[in-house]
C-alpha cells in the first residue's frame, strides 16, 4: 500500500475566522473559493483536478469502462473502524470492483450543513484522501453545496467512480450457473452492528470495528489468476441476505446456503442476539459474495484466504439450480428454511 505524503493534521483554513461552515461557503464567492482551495484542492491534489475546470479530462486506458455512483449518509460521521470519508471511497471503489473493474477515478460531491465544524470537514476530507491514495484512485472532480442548519446531518457525500474493465467476461447475475460455488471474503454483519452500537449508545465489552475496506485488489488478483468469476456483489445495506436474494432474482436461480459456514464474529453475533437482529441482515462495507464456476471454487477460496482482504473467506453454499428465485439455508440443526430479504429497517425487539 503506498504511503500517503504528509498532510497537516490541523485544518489549514484560518479557523479563528471561520471555525464553522457558513452558508456563504457555498455561495460561489471568495469564501467558497477559499474553502475549495484550502481544503479540497489541497487534499485531493492531482493533475486532472488541478486544472480547476468545469470537467476533468481523463485518459481512457481501456475500451470498456465501469461507471457507478453512491451517496453516503452516516451518523455518527466517525465510527470505530472508519468514517464517512473513507466509507465514501471504499463503497464506490467496491461497487466498481463488483464488475471486475480496476478503479481509476472518483468524483466527490459534498452537501454540508451550515454550522459543521471546519475541523470536522477537514478530518472527513483527509480521510477520503488517505483512502483514495490507498486504493490507487484519483478524486478528479467535485462539488460543494451548503444547506441551512437543520437541513442536513453534518455532511453528506456522493462519490461517482470510473474503472477500467480489463477482463473479457460478463460479471453479472445473468452469468450465474447451477453448480457455482458461493464464497464470501470474510465475516459478515460487522459494519451494521458497529454503527448501531455507537448510534444507540449500546455499551458492549469491546467496540465492534466496522469492516469498511476496499476489496478491488482481491478481485483483480482472482481475475489475474484466471478464476472464472460469474458474479460479484458487495454486501452493503440489507447484508448478505439481501445480496443473495437480489442475485437469485437476477439470475433466476435457487441458492443453497449452509448457515454454520457463514462467518460471523462472536462479538457481532452476541450483539445481534441481544437486540434480536440477524447478522445476515446487517450491513458490511468490505465484504462481497463471489459466484465462481464450480471447478474454480477451491482455488478461488485459497487465493482469497491468502490475500489480506480475504483472510476470513469461506465457501458458504452453491447455486442449486435454475427455477424459482429463492435462497434456502440449512440451519445449525440441519433443517432447511428460507433466507429472506429484510422487510425494512431492522428494529430491535421488545424482549
Amino acid at each position: 500500500m503506498p504511503t500517503p505524503p504528509h498532510l497537516p493534521a490541523a485544518c489549514p483554513l484560518p479557523i479563528q475566522q471561520y471555525p464553522q461552515v457558513l452558508l456563504a461557503h457555498g455561495g460561489g464567492g471568495r469564501l467558497m473559493h477559499e474553502l475549495l482551495g484550502k481544503i479540497f484542492f489541497q487534499a485531493f491534489d492531482n493533475p486532472a483536478l488541478n486544472v480547476q475546470h468545469d470537467a476533468a479530462v481523463l485518459a481512457c486506458p481501456s475500451p470498456r469502462l465501469a461507471f457507478t455512483t453512491d451517496s453516503y449518509t452516516v451518523r455518527p460521521l466517525f465510527f470505530p473502524g472508519g468514517d464517512i470519508g473513507s466509507l465514501a471511497v471504499h463503497g464506490t471503489v467496491n461497487d466498481l470492483a463488483m464488475s471486475g473493474a480496476r478503479p481509476l477515478y472518483l468524483s466527490a460531491g459534498f452537501i454540508l450543513e451550515e454550522g459543521l465544524p471546519m475541523d470536522t470537514l477537514w478530518r472527513v476530507v483527509s480521510s477520503m484522501r488517505d483512502a483514495a491514495r490507498a486504493c490507487g484512485v484519483a478524486i478528479v472532480t467535485g462539488d460543494t453545496k451548503v444547506v441551512d442548519k437543520g437541513k442536513g446531518d453534518g455532511v453528506f457525500v456522493n462519490t461517482a467512480g470510473i474503472g477500467a474493465v480489463e477482463h473479457s467476461g460478463t460479471i453479472a447475475p445473468p452469468s450465474v450457473r447451477p453448480g457455482d460455488g458461493i464464497l464470501v471474503n470474510g465475516d459478515v454483519g460487522r459494519h451494521g452492528m458497529a454503527i448501531m452500537a455507537v448510534r444507540e449508545g449500546l455499551e458492549f465489552q469491546s467496540a465492534i470495528q466496522s469492516d469498511s475496506a476496499p476489496v478491488h485488489d482481491l478481485v483483480l488478483a482472482l481475475l489475474r489468476a484466471g478464476i472464472d468469476i460469474h458474479c460479484l456483489r458487495d454486501l452493503t445495506r440489507g447484508g448478505l441476505a439481501s445480496a443473495l436474494n437480489e442475485i437469485a432474482e437476477g439470475a433466476g436461480c435457487r441458492l443453497q446456503i449452509d448457515e454454520p459456514r457463514v462467518p460471523v464474529r462472536d462479538d457481532v453475533r452476541a450483539a445481534c442476539e441481544i437486540l434480536g437482529l440477524d447478522p445476515l441482515h446487517s450491513a458490511c462495507e468490505g465484504r462481497f459474495a463471489a459466484f465462481v464456476a464450480e471447478a474454480d471454487t477451491d482455488r478461488a477460496l485459497a487465493l482469497m484466504r491468502a490475500h489480506r482482504s480475504g483472510e476470513g473467506a469461506a465457501r458458504i453454499g452453491h447455486v442449486a439450480g435454475a427455477g424459482e428465485p429463492i435462497v434456502l439455508m440449512k440451519s445449525a440443526i440441519g433443517a432447511s428454511r428460507i433466507l429472506d430479504m429484510p422487510s425494512g429497517e431492522q428494529l430491535p425487539r421488545i424482549c
Binding site: 444507540e200 462472536d266 440443526i333 429472506d340 425494512g344 428494529l347 421488545i350
Partner: protein, 362 residues
C-alpha cells in the same frame, strides 16, 4: 458465544428429537406460549425434526401482536402531538393502527424515538422539561418490571412531564382463557422461560392442577425447546400434569421477588383487551392509584377511545392457536410484512411474520 452454540448443536438436537420419537405413542398437541419460541422453532426448523404425532400450536406470547388496535391508535394520536416526545421499543413502530403507524407519524414530523429501556425515557423527561415524554409500556411480565421502575423513578424525581401509555399483559390469565375455550386442542404447554425468570412458576401450579395440563417452563434455543417438548410428552404419556422447569439456568420457582414487589407496587391487575381475541379478565397491568397521575391516557384525555378490529385479519385465531398463519386466506397475498393487516405479520416475534420469513414457499 460458545455457551450459545452448545444449545444449537445439531447432534444434541437430533438425539433429543430421536428420544421424543421413542417416548411418543400417540398424537399430542403442544402449545409454545412465547413468540420467541415460535420464531426459534420456525427459524431452526425444530418442528421438522419431530415425529408426525407431535403438533406444535403457536401461542399468544407476542407482546406486539396482542396489543389492541385502540392502544396503537392512542399511541399514534399522542405521538403526533407537537409537545410530545414519544418513546417506544423498536418493534412497535411498524405495527399498523387503524389508519397509520408510528414510523409514518415520525416521517410526518412527530418526535417518535426508539429506546432500549424505559429508563431512557425517564432520562429524556429530565433533559427536556418543556416537553411531555410518553413511554409506550408494552410487553408481558418480562418487560413490565423495567416499566414499573421507570414510573417509580419518575415519581421519586417528581417528573411531571413523564407519562406511560400502558398495555402490559400477563400470561397466566391468557393460558386459562385458552384452556377454558370449548374448542381448545392444547394438551400441554411450553411456558415462556423469560416471563418465568421474572415471575417464577408458582403461578402455574394451580393451572396445571385445575385443567390437568402439563406445563414445562422452557428456554429459547433449539435444544431447550426439544427438551421442553420431551419433558412435556413424557408427562402426557404417563398421565401426569405438573409444572416442570426445563430452563433452570434462568428460572427458579420463586422468580425475581424484588421485580414482583415493584410490579405490585406500581401496577394493579386489570382486565385487558387482546388484539383479535377480546377482553380477558385479570390479564393486564394498569397503573395503581398512587401512580395514576402518570397515565398518558388520562393526561391526554383518550381513556374513552374504542376501535373495532378489521374483520379480514385472522390474527386472533392465530394467537389462540386455532389456525396456522398460512391457513389465513390473506397470508402472503393481501397481508405481507410490507403491507400488514395485523401485528402478527410485522412483529419480530409474530407467528405470521415467522412463517412469511422462513416458510413462505413449500
Amino acid at each position: 458465544m460458545r455457551y450459545l452454540d452448545e444449545f444449537r448443536d445439531g447432534q444434541a438436537a437430533r438425539s433429543l428429537a430421536a428420544e421424543i420419537g421413542r417416548v411418543t405413542t400417540r398424537p399430542w398437541n403442544l402449545m409454545e406460549v412465547c413468540g420467541g419460541q415460535t420464531h426459534a422453532i420456525v427459524k431452526f426448523g425444530i418442528d421438522e425434526l419431530l415425529p408426525k404425532a407431535i403438533t406444535l400450536i403457536h401461542g399468544p406470547g407476542c407482546p406486539v401482536c396482542v396489543t389492541p388496535l385502540e392502544i396503537i391508535d392512542k399511541a399514534i394520536e399522542i405521538a403526533a402531538r407537537p409537545e410530545v416526545i414519544f418513546c417506544s421499543f423498536g418493534d412497535m413502530l411498524r405495527v399498523p393502527g387503524s389508519t397509520t403507524d408510528l414510523l409514518s407519524v415520525k416521517a410526518g414530523g412527530g418526535d417518535v424515538r426508539m429506546v432500549y429501556s424505559p429508563l431512557d425515557a425517564v432520562k429524556l423527561a429530565e433533559q427536556n422539561p418543556a416537553r411531555q415524554v410518553v413511554f409506550f409500556g408494552v410487553g408481558f411480565e418480562t418487560t413490565a418490571p423495567a416499566t414499573a421502575m421507570a414510573v417509580f423513578q419518575a415519581a421519586s424525581k417528581g417528573l411531571g412531564n413523564f407519562s406511560l401509555l400502558v398495555s402490559h399483559v400477563r400470561v397466566p390469565p391468557a393460558l386459562e382463557a385458552i384452556l377454558s375455550s370449548p374448542d381448545c386442542r392444547v394438551q400441554g404447554f411450553l411456558a415462556a422461560g423469560h416471563v418465568c425468570a421474572v415471575m417464577g412458576f408458582w403461578e402455574y401450579v394451580p393451572i396445571a392442577q385445575q385443567y390437568h395440563v402439563p406445563i414445562v417452563v422452557t428456554g429459547f434455543e433449539p435444544t431447550d425447546i426439544l427438551q421442553g417438548i420431551l419433558r412435556c410428552v413424557q408427562q402426557l404419556e404417563s398421565g401426569r400434569a405438573e409444572v416442570d422447569n426445563q430452563y433452570a439456568r434462568a428460572v427458579c420457582r420463586e422468580g425475581n421477588r424484588p421485580a414482583q414487589d415493584l410490579l405490585r407496587r406500581v401496577f394493579r391487575v386489570v382486565p385487558r383487551k387482546w388484539r383479535g381475541v377480546g377482553e380477558i379478565p385479570n390479564s393486564g397491568l394498569g397503573l395503581a392509584g398512587e401512580y395514576a397521575a402518570f397515565d398518558a391516557e388520562r393526561r391526554f384525555g383518550l381513556a374513552d377511545h374504542h376501535v373495532e378490529e378489521p374483520a379480514e385479519c385472522l390474527s386472533g385465531l392465530v394467537l389462540q392457536g386455532r389456525i396456522k398463519p398460512h391457513e389465513c386466506p390473506a397470508f402472503g397475498t393481501r397481508c405481507t410484512p410490507e403491507h400488514p393487516l395485523g401485528a402478527t405479520m410485522v412483529s419480530s416475534e409474530g407467528a405470521c411474520a415467522a412463517y412469511y420469513r422462513y416458510r413462505r414457499h413449500p
